[in-house]
Symmetry: D2
Subunit: 347 residues, 4 copies
C-alpha cells in the first residue's frame, strides 16, 4: 500500500523559455518559499474567480520609494484589489510622485550625516530630495484647506478627495490615489497621523486656521461595514503593520456585530516578518484562524520574501493569467452617504 | 606605531557570580548583539543622566500577553520613561489584565481551528480566553459612555481618562495605564482605530448612541508640542511600527515648525526587524539621521533581539544601576489645557 | 547645481508583457532586495563576459529536495559555473534523484513523530521516503568498494568517480554529479563527513572491510591550486556554510602562498542569513574585503532572498541573456595528475 | 468545566533584585523567545540530571572573536559538555587567543578596503590583526610537524594533540582546546579543511615536506561510536552548520548500525536561523524527529536569539543552579585505541 505522505513527487524545474506565470506555476511543485510564491498567485486567482468577493489589500513598507507604484496602480485599476488599506507613508510618497517628483537610486553604504547636510533623506538604498518633500508637504497643506471644518472625516473620505484633486493633473495617472479614485476603490489609512500626509493636514489647522477633524473611529465603522456587507472577503497583505491588523479586525468586528461568521475566505501575505517574535505583523494566518479572522477552510498562503521581489513577479503572473477573470467577475461597487457605506456586486 | 583599529581588545567574559548589570557591563567588551545589549543599558543610563531630557518610549509587539506588563509599569512609575507611544493592542491587553483577567501559557504547535472552536485566541505561544475579551470589550464600551459627544479627543486624553478609571480599582496597580496616570506620563496611541480598544469605543457610538470623536490630528499636534518644548529628547523603541515612526516624526515636525534643530539626542531600539527590507520598522537609526530625526552626535544603539529576552535584562540592569539617577534627574512635568500641552523640568 | 546624491531617479516598474530577464533588468531601477536581484543577474553576466575567469559556485541549503536540481545541472552544463563546492546533502540528494528516486510535496504543519512512524523524513515542506534513502545509502556503499584502499582521496576525486558511475545510467542526465562529470566541472565537498554521502562511504570500511581514506587536506590543496592558477575568479554563493567560506578561503590561501593578490574579482551571494549575528554565512562581501577575499574593485552583490525564489529567476534570466556569452568565453579546462591540478583557458 | 487550553496563566515578571537564574526561571512563565530562553536552562539542567547521558555540543558562528571563549572553557571544564563538535574557525581563534593574542573592539560601519590596507580583518564589529593571524598560522604549521606522516588522523586526534601542546603554556588556561584536553572532552572538527586551522596543517605538507592525512571518514566512525556506546545522549547547539548536522547524524548512523533506537533524548538549539528557508541549520528539532534524530519524548527547545546574548545568560544560570548536579552526575569517561573509542560512565 502506498504511503499517504508520499503521493505527489516534487517536480524539479528545468531552465527553458517560459513566461513569468509559467515560472510561478512550476514553482508550486518545488519547495520552501519558492513553492509559496507560486501558491500566492494561485490563491489570488482563486479569490478573483470566486464571484462576489471583496478583496481587501493591506500595504505596508516603503513600497513606493522602491518603485512599486505603477504595480499598485495596475492592481487597483484592473480591480484585482477592491479596498486598499495603506500606511500614510505609501500614500504620501504616491502623492509626491503624482506631483511629478522623484525618488532616486542611492546606497545604504553612505554617511547619513553627510546626506542630512545635503538635504537628502534615505530609505535604505533609495534617496529623496528633502526640498521636494517640503513642496509636497505644502501642497497637501493647501489641498487640506478645501476640507470642511468640524466635520468628523474618515481617512477614506479625505483620501477620496485627495485622489479627486490629483486626478485633475495629467501626469498623475499611474498614481495609487488617482487609480483608486477612478476605479472606485476606497482607501483607508487608519494611522494617517503617523505620516507626513497626516501632519501636513494638521498644519492646515495650526498655520492656516483650519479646524479639520480626522475621526479615526469612522475608519473602523466604515471598514467593518464593508466586511459586513460583503458576501465573501479576501485579505491580501504586503508587509504587516496596521494595514494587516486593520483588515483582519474588520472580520472580527463584523462577526461580533452581526453575530454571523464574517471571517475572511482567503488570506495571502508576503512578508519578511516572522511568527517567532510573537507580533501581529509576522504571525501566521493559522494563528489568525484561532481569532476567527479566517474561515476554517480559507485559502491561505504566506510567502516570506521581500515584496520588491515577490510583488512584481506576482503582479506579472496575474496580468498573464488573471486579467480576464478580474474583468468578468462580479466585483463590489461602492456607494456611500457620509459614513454609511453600501456595496453591491456587479461588473 | 600602533594600528589605530586595534586599540581596544575585547574581553572574553568569564562565568562567575555576578549581578545582571555586571553581566550587561561585561557584554560591552564582547561582540555582536551581546555588545549591543550592553550598550542599550549604557545609552539609556546616559539619557537618564542628562538633565532636562524628555524620554519618549515606543512600544509595539504583543508585549503584554508575553508578560512584560509589570516591567513597563516599573519603567513608567520610576520615570525611566516620560512619554509612552503604544499600539492599541498593548493598551487593550494591559486593560484586560488590569481588570483581573489573564493570559495563558500556550503553544504555537496547535490546531488553530480547534482553538477557535474552544474560543481560545492564540498569540504565538500565549493563549487568551475569547469570552474574557468580550467582557473587556464591553467594559471599555461602557467606560466610553463618560466621553463627551462631539469633542475632538486626542488618544492621549482618552487614555488619561481610562487610566483614571482603572486607578480606582485596587487590583490594577501594575497596569501601564494606571502607572502612567499616577506618574503623570502621557500615553499616545495614534493607531487606536487599529485595536480592540478603538473598536470598543466605536461600539459606544453605534450601539449606545454616543457621538465620540477621536481626532487623530490632535495626536500629532500634542506630541509635536512635547518635542518642541523639550530641551533634550530621547527615543527608545521596543519593536517598530507606528510607535517608532510617530516618535521620530515628532522631531521632524518640531524642527520644521520651529525652524530649530529639535532632533532627538538619544536613540535606542530593540527590534527583530532588519534594515534589508527597506521598511521604517527595521531601519537603522543612522538612516533616520539623514532625515534629521537624530542629532549628528546622538547616542544611538540598535540591538537585534526579541524584546521578551532583551527588555527584562535591560530593565533589571536599570533597576540595579539607574534608580537613583532616575529619581534625581530633572524630568518633564506635564500640564495641559485641552490640546495645549506644557512641560517644565523638575524632580 | 545638481545634488550629487540625486542624479539617477528610480523607475517605477510597470506591469506589461515581458520576459523574465526584462523583469530583472527593470528591477535594477527599483529598490531594496528587488534591485539586488536584478544586480545579481548583471554581476553574473559581467563575470561571464570577463574572459579567463574561473567561476566558483558554493551550494548550501537543501536545494535538491526543493526542486533546484535541473537548474544546477543547467548552470553546470552551460558552464556558467566552473567549479562547484557543495554540502554533502545536496550531492547525496542529487544522487538519490539520479538513481530514479523522488522527493515529495509535503507540509511543515504535520506531526513529525507520526512521520517517523511512517518512515517519512521531512525537509520543511518536502517529504522523503526513508526506505528509498536506505537504498541510496547501500548503492553508495557498494559504489565505494571501487575506491582504492589507503589512497588519500580528495573529495573531488571521489565525486568525479561517482559522477562517472552515475553517467552510465540513462535516467541520470539532469544530475549535478553527471553534468559536472560531462562538463569537466570539478566538485569539492570539504565537509563530506557531514552527510549521508560521507557515512555511506565510511560504511564500506566498517561493513565491507575497505580502508578508504578521504584526506580532507587534499581538498584545500587542490582548491587553492585552482585559485592560484586562475587569471580571474568569481565566487557565487547560494546560502553560506562551508561552501562559501571554503571558496573565500581559496583566495586567502592562494594570495598567502603566491604572495600575489589572488582575491576574487566578483562576489555574488543569495542568502537568508544576515550580518547582524556575526557569522561567516551571513557576513557582507565588504567584510570579506577586509580579509583580502575580494579585490577592492570587485563586482559584488548580496541579495537576501530564499534561493528557491531567487535562483530560478536568475537562472532563467541568464538563459535568456547569457547563453551566448557563456558559450563564447574562454573558460577554464581542468586537467590533473593526482592532487596536482592544472587549468588552461579555452572554449 | 474549565477550558483545557486555559489552565496555566502567564506570570508577568516584576522588576526586583534577583539573580540571573531567578530571571531565567521567571522567563519560563512569560512568552515568545524569552520563555524559550528560560526553557533552555531547564532543559540543559534536565540533561545534566539524567545520569549516564553524554552531552554533545555543537559550536558554530564566530563565538570566540565575540568573547565567548571563557564561557565555553567553563562549560567544558565543569563537564556541562562531554563532546564538542566545532567549526574550525572557533578552534583557530581559540588557539590564537591561547597563544596570547587578542581580538579587538571594532565597528561594522567602516571602510573595509581601508581595513584591508591596514591589515585589519573584520568579523562584524570585531577587528583582528592580520599579522597576528600569520603568526598563529605559522605556529600551527610548526606544531603540525609532530604529526605522523601517512597516518589517517581523525580531527579529534589532532585536536587532542593540539590541546596537549597548548596546555604546556601557562597563559592558555581559559582555552577551549586546553580545557577539553584537561577535562577529557573529545573535540571533533569535521570541516577542519574549511578553516585557517586546516590550511595551516596543510601548509606543513606543501612547505615542510610533511605527508599529513586527516581522514575525515574517521570523524564519522569515531563520533558514531560515541553515540552507539552512550546510554543516553543530548545535542546542544549554538548556531547550526556542520556541528549541528554532524551531531544529529551520529544518532542516525548509530541507530542504523546497531538497529536500535539511538536517537538523542534531549535537543537544545540557540540560533538566529529559521525553518522557513528549509535548511538544516534553521530547521526545528521536531523536523529532526521525523528523521529519528530525537526520541518522540525528547526534551527539546529552540531559542531564536543571537548566542552572544543567550549563551552568557544560560551559562551563568547553569553556574548558579547546575554546578553541583554537573559535579555529581555519572558522566562519560572516554578512552581510545586509535579510532576505537570507548566510554564508561563515572564521576
Amino acid at each position: 500500500m502506498k504511503n499517504v505522505f508520499l503521493r505527489y513527487p516534487t517536480k524539479p524545474m528545468d531552465v527553458s523559455k517560459k513566461s513569468i506565470s509559467q515560472l510561478t506555476n512550476e514553482m508550486i511543485l518545488t519547495g520552501f518559499q519558492g513553492r509559496k510564491l507560486g501558491e500566492v498567485v494561485e490563491t489570488w486567482l482563486a479569490a478573483l474567480e470566486r464571484n462576489e468577493t471583496t478583496i481587501f489589500f493591506g500595504l505596508a513598507g516603503a513600497m513606493i520609494p522602491a518603485g512599486m507604484r505603477k504595480i499598485m496602480a495596475y492592481l487597483i485599476s484592473k480591480r484585482m484589489i477592491d479596498v486598499l488599506v495603506s500606511t500614510g507613508a505609501n500614500l504620501y510618497h504616491d502623492c509626491h510622485e503624482a506631483l511629478g517628483r522623484k525618488h532616486y537610486l542611492g546606497s545604504y553604504k553612505v554617511d547619513d550625516v553627510l546626506l542630512h547636510k545635503n538635504k537628502v533623506d534615505r530609505i535604505y538604498d533609495v534617496f529623496a530630495n528633502e526640498k521636494g518633500f517640503y513642496k509636497t508637504d505644502i501642497w497637501i497643506e493647501k489641498f487640506s484647506t478645501i476640507l470642511e471644518d468640524g466635520y468628523p472625516y474618515s481617512s477614506r473620505e479625505i483620501l477620496y478627495l485627495l485622489g479627486e484633486e490629483l486626478s485633475k493633473r495629467k501626469r498623475s495617472k499611474n498614481s495609487i490615489l488617482v487609480s483608486a479614485y477612478n476605479a472606485g476603490v476606497p482607501i483607508f489609512c487608519p494611522a494617517i497621523a503617523d505620516s507626513s500626509l497626516g501632519f501636513s493636514i494638521m498644519f492646515a489647522n495650526i498655520r492656516r486656521g483650519k479646524k479639520i477633524i480626522v475621526n479615526t473611529l469612522a475608519d473602523i465603522e466604515e471598514s467593518s461595514q464593508l466586511c459586513e456587507k460583503s458576501k465573501n472577503t479576501a485579505g491580501i497583505y504586503v508587509g504587516g503593520g496596521v494595514p494587516k491588523n486593520f483588515i483582519q479586525q474588520t472580520a472580527v468586528i463584523a462577526s461580533y456585530y452581526t453575530r454571523k461568521d464574517k471571517s475572511h475566505g482567503f488570506g495571502i501575505q508576503i512578508t519578511t516578518d516572522l511568527p517567532q517574535w510573537g507580533g501581529l505583523s509576522g504571525c501566521t494566518l493559522e494563528e489568525s484562524q484561532s481569532w476567527g479572522k479566517y474561515k476554517s477552510d480559507a485559502g491561505m498562503v504566506t510567502c516570506n520574501c521581500d515584496a520588491t521581489i515577490a510583488l512584481p513577479i506576482v503582479a506579472h503572473a496575474l496580468m498573464e493569467r488573471g486579467e480576464d477573470t478580474a474583468d468578468k467577475r462580479d466585483k463590489p461597487i461602492f456607494t456611500w452617504n457620509g459614513h454609511r457605506l453600501k456595496l453591491k456586486y456587479g461588473k
